[in-house]
Amino acid sequence: MKRAKKVTELMASSNGGPEKRAKNGASAKNVSRKKNGANGNGRAESFPRFYGTPLPGVKPEELSGSLIVVEGTDGSGRSTQISLLTEWLESEGFAVETMGLRRSFLVGEDIDALLAENSVTRMTLALMYGTDFFDQLERRILPALRSGLIVLADRYIFTLIARAAVRGIGRDYLHGIYEIALRPELTFWLNVRPEVAFDREFKKSQTISYWESGRDMSLSNDLFQSFIRYQSMIKREFEYLSKRHGFIELDGEGSVSEVNRELRQRIASHLGIRRTQYKPSHALAHLWR
């Protein structure tokens, strides 16, 4: 694929830097006032809401809620943990909003249709996922954060970057698209080995999907091999992203209750929740193992 010639210029953040810093400073004050007990990751003091230039029309200082991201490959237990965390936070009196992939009203179903066809090209798919992401962010998540809600994201820009990057789309290009995105306060990475992910995914649906095994990439005709190789590539991208973005890496192979306890402790200290004890309700008891 032909790329336009790139030249290095001054970083965008140096234009309008002071203004941005002032805004971020203001938002950081709000954050630290609201979360007095916050000392979990030491970032709460000077925490800019955006990576770079904020989305058009958004005032970072208006956002009083918290964005917490749970990332991990297929079969890492993300969705289970998000359900449990939602219940726990609600029982602690926090209102929760969630986001995930392909959940936008604008293009969520269109992406499903594209995936079903298997004929979509990588750049188009990456940009459709981008549209899906920003539609949720702008029309659902930012309003929630303005109202002071806790947003739990079941995957975030990192999965989108990793998936596109293993398909050969430049990391700088991808980071450039998402530099206007909101930066999470905490990003957890539930790390599992591809073999474990395979067992879990297979148990769940008795088969392995086309996209989960990266079959569009022609890695192997053997489905198991294809899955392992694809998920290993994704995992390597996550290792890189983890360093770049300071993920909190958790052992996703632990039991649901162990991983959940770890997550609750980190989130509690970040939000200033004192009591972290939790037992799932009847409705969610089946997840607890």
């Binding site: 336009a4 000077s46 990576y51 989305l55 979509v120 188009t124 539609d135 530099e179």
Partner: protein
Amino acid sequence: MASIPSEIVTTQRPVAEAIPASKRDYPGALVVVEGIDGSGKSTQLYLLKRWLEIGGYRIHFTEWNSSPLVKSATRRGKQRRLLTPTTFSLLHAADFADRCERQILPLLQGGYLVLADRYIYTAFARDAARGCSPHWLRNLYSFAPVPDITFYFRAPLDVAVNRIVAGRPKLKYYEAGMDLGISLDRAESFRIFQERILNNYDQMVQTDHFVLMDGTMRVNRLQKQMRQIVTERVDLDPFAPKKAVKKK
């Protein structure tokens, strides 16, 4: 600046620069027309296309926003007015990427002369007028091949706006830039929106090597000029019928 974490802000900035034919990695050529609505660009590209078609040249014509892929999403977004500057821009980029990856790039690689009615500069001018950061837009479209010729049809704002308003009973919501909240009057909003776009185009003339065309000239005279420039700047032999076998 040190206090601003930069884990995601990229330092590299793509800039469109004409690539000489010898350095391109495809044998095709790309000619695009740009300009605000009513500048006469589509008429002129149509005439250029007819000239080449009648001459039997290997050409392909492509339009902005024409792929069925994102049509339902675009329609849904526009009807319900759900599109923000960012999602509007990304959706059009996804649409363009589909056309680029499945048509434009394969055709350029297969040795076609590709004619595009609007190209990435439409997104640069229009989406920046909506408030997207120019730097973000440049990165978004950096996968697009750089055109061999970019004709920029320029007509004074009044001329262009009158051509459109006279021919259309009602301007559409996004077309008129109503999402920007500039004015409640559609015609007024359209005018201001087009003015911003025109200014953005003007700023790209130098940086993106536009060939400036006077949209107020008589159609046939303008077309003559356009054909002459194409002949001068693109080696048409490889696209010509039969005798195309001779290799450079």
